[in-house]
Symmetry: C2
Subunit: 194 residues, 2 copies
């Protein structure tokens, strides 16, 4: 049921999805939504939290592994691609929430978002400490890593709309190619310059 609601919110946003519609795709009555959640906002928050919890746990485990930092960075990126594969609504919902400035994010959700960033930052900083990575602005490095992943997911969705397949920017890109490209760019960004 969360999946259905998440996909709908991801498609059309908080204001674009009615509680009626969520009830319909969840196969329950609208009154049931209000029996389980105080209001639409709380339902939305629970959907976003649920989604971010998984992402947080996963990338934190990657960051805490004892493998070399460059390898952990590659795994971090691969994990994002896999999550986007398994749950297509994840990147666009996250992207939309960011685009809105996150006015509906509660403190718990912010902590989860923070932990994803912290996992990334930890990998980069440990790579710098061992001399594998050069010095960079951590926030911008983070933007450079997940920005293209999120935007590409949006691009894929836009490509699925009717009458788009002929446009060159909407060509299909296999996720293996995507992951390889993103790993390469991230490592290029952090590599010590000769």
């Amino acid at each position: 049921m969360f999946q259905a609601a998440a996909a709908a919110f991801s498609d059309r946003g908080f204001d674009g999805v009615g509680v009626d519609e969520i009830a319909a795709i969840a196969g329950v009555n609208k009154a049931m939504i209000y029996y389980h959640f105080t209001d639409k906002l709380e339902l939305y928050r629970e959907v976003v939290r649920d989604m971010l919890r998984d992402a947080s746990v996963r990338v934190t485990a990657i960051a805490e592994s004892d493998r070399p930092a460059p390898l952990r960075l590659e795994t971090f990126i691969a994990a994002f691609v896999e999550m986007a594969d398994a749950r297509p609504w994840f990147p666009t919902l996250m992207l939309r929430e960011m685009a809105e400035g996150g006015p509906r994010l509660d403190p718990d959700t912010l902590v989860l978002m923070r932990s994803v960033f912290v996992a990334f930052a930890r990998i980069v900083q440990e790579g710098q400490a061992t001399g594998a990575f050069r010095s960079v602005n951590l926030v911008l490095a983070y933007m450079s890593t997940i920005g293209p992943l999120l935007l590409n997911a949006a691009r894929e969705r836009a490509a699925r709309q009717p009458g788009r397949s002929d446009l060159p920017m909407f060509v299909e890109v296999p996720h293996a190619v995507l992951a390889a490209h993103m790993q390469q760019v991230a490592l290029d960004m952090l590599r010590i310059k000769p």
Copy 2:
């Protein structure tokens, strides 16, 4: 008046902004909106088109200049940062429209979006032809270039929400630093590997 509507749509999305509100910030009566536009959707489309027209003209001029490709690429990125500076609603509105899969984009707008991508692709391809750039997937290179720029604009907006200033991922990053970082990453991505 377009600016006011654009800023509102950028903040809260198509469904999040009422025609009443647009009329109010534009300082006119709601009936005036419907006198000038057939409906809310057409107004929205005109806002997006107007915004993209400027961007398209600007980056096309950069792509058509006769300077070396790496320099044109740097200018392309600097132009994006400047546009985001001058019109803060531009990146988030574009990002949101992408995140939604662009279901409201009309053919004219798609042509404009296409022309921005084409300008980028032209710079990269000409750089490849002269041996300055290595071979890459053009679409992914585009995602890697504008994705972080758009996401960072969203990050900046999110940072302006109350109670966010203490979170490490919401630290302020000067736009000069942003531009320099993005130019560096783009050139690293395209540089011929040793």
